[in-house]
Amino acid sequence: MGGFAAAITGIGLVTPAGIGVPANWARFVEGTSTAAHHPDLDALPVNMACRVPDFSATRLGLRGAWQWDRYTQFAVVATLEALSGAGLTAGNWPDSSRVAVVMGSGAGGTATLEAQHAALLTDGPSDVSPMTLPMGLLNMAAGQVAIEVGANGPCLAPCTACASGASAIGIGRDMIRSGAADIVIAGGAEAPITPLYVSAFARMRALSRRTDDPGTASRPFDSTRDGFVLGEGAGVFVLESEEHARARGARPVARVIGYGASADAHHVTSPHPEGRGAKLAVRAALADAGLSGGDVRYVNAHGTSTPLNDSVESGVIRELIGSGTPVSSTKGVTGHPLGAAGAIEAAAAALTVHHGVIPPTANLTAPDPAMDIDLVHKAARHGPVEVALSNSFGFGGQNTALLIAA
């Protein structure tokens, strides 16, 4: 390995599988779905989703949470867990200008924006909340995290749709590498289970229609997959250089050793048929880490459970990594949390190399033979995993690949 490693010294997770890393990791390893019917979605074309269970920012003790959109609440809760795991205390920085926040999202505060737009149309301009933009903008999770933890370093919110969380981690590692920051809080947050998002994805025919049996709907790489299930949540890493972590006695959970990004430059939603952009991203990540595809021991796939994504992605994996390398998708458990997915799945990859356990893909009962890759299903596999690849592909043809090592 000739490249640069950023130490992951803390992880925070808020997903439909639960709040906190232990609950999430247990559910990932168990490999059971969180998709369910939600009566409040009954007026919409698809009435199932993967929701974070029993989430209340107020009950979690966050003052001021009423003025944060749900996606920001997820980001703050995940950040506080990641800091705690890293042995860091918010606000207690040697130099707060050296602490950066990179928090990606695809939809930002869409629930807030939709509600306020409805208020504008029904009650008029004077009923539009002054909190509309402070809650609704896509950079506000990043902004509120910086406020909450007192981070005065660079603060930004990359948007690459469903790759946003992975882009944030790649950019965060670059900031450590370039010396722009000593500590980067990097991840993604999303709360898109709203009438507009559900309707829009449904009209694109992107969502699974297995509404009579939601628990089986998100089934990446299965021959009967028919679309994704909308999810939500946040994933956050604390990144720092290995020297910085060592100097303060922090033990990394894992390390980010490679990052590659690309554009399909092909179509807004359909992946390039041969996965040209995806391959460019994976190749760039391998080159960044000084590795070849054969060095990768596990792939945490983007694996959305849509017919096209899984088929194109499996071809990319087959060609660049090999048909004998274990592959699974976390989305069988979590559904698709859009801009948070890349960060949540990078966390799953980090925990995989840390524990030496490869989680199975939930609901994968009849692997699509056309995939022709080693799909981990039914049960987790145990054994050392030196290097994992985490893929993320966003609408707009925006692709990110992260390599994570023990």
Binding site: T58, R63, G64, A65, W66, Q67, D127, P130, M131
Partner: protein, 79 residues
């Protein structure tokens, strides 16, 4: 004044998640953790819940709860 204060305090408590017991007539918006944007939000909440017609500019002049109550009294808001 008293029952009007109670109504305003109820609106503040429910809209902003502020502990109801912590709200007194002399409480300032700062005391309650309400910033300038929250004050504007309060204008909407008072209009919806109490039918009170105060505008954003008037609210921006106030710094404590009793001033809001006095204004509502002045414009004849009944609860």
């Amino acid at each position: 004044m008293n029952s009007l204060f109670e109504s305003v305090a109820d609106v503040i408590a429910s809209r902003f998640g502020v502990d109801r017991e912590a709200i007194a007539p002399e409480s300032t918006f700062d005391d309650l953790g309400l910033d300038s944007l929250s004050q504007i939000e309060l204008v909407t909440a008072l209009r919806k819940r109490l039918g009170a017609d105060i505008d954003d500019e008037q609210m921006a002049e106030f710094s404590q709860v009793s001033e809001v109550v006095a204004k509502l009294e002045e414009i004849g808001v009944k609860v």
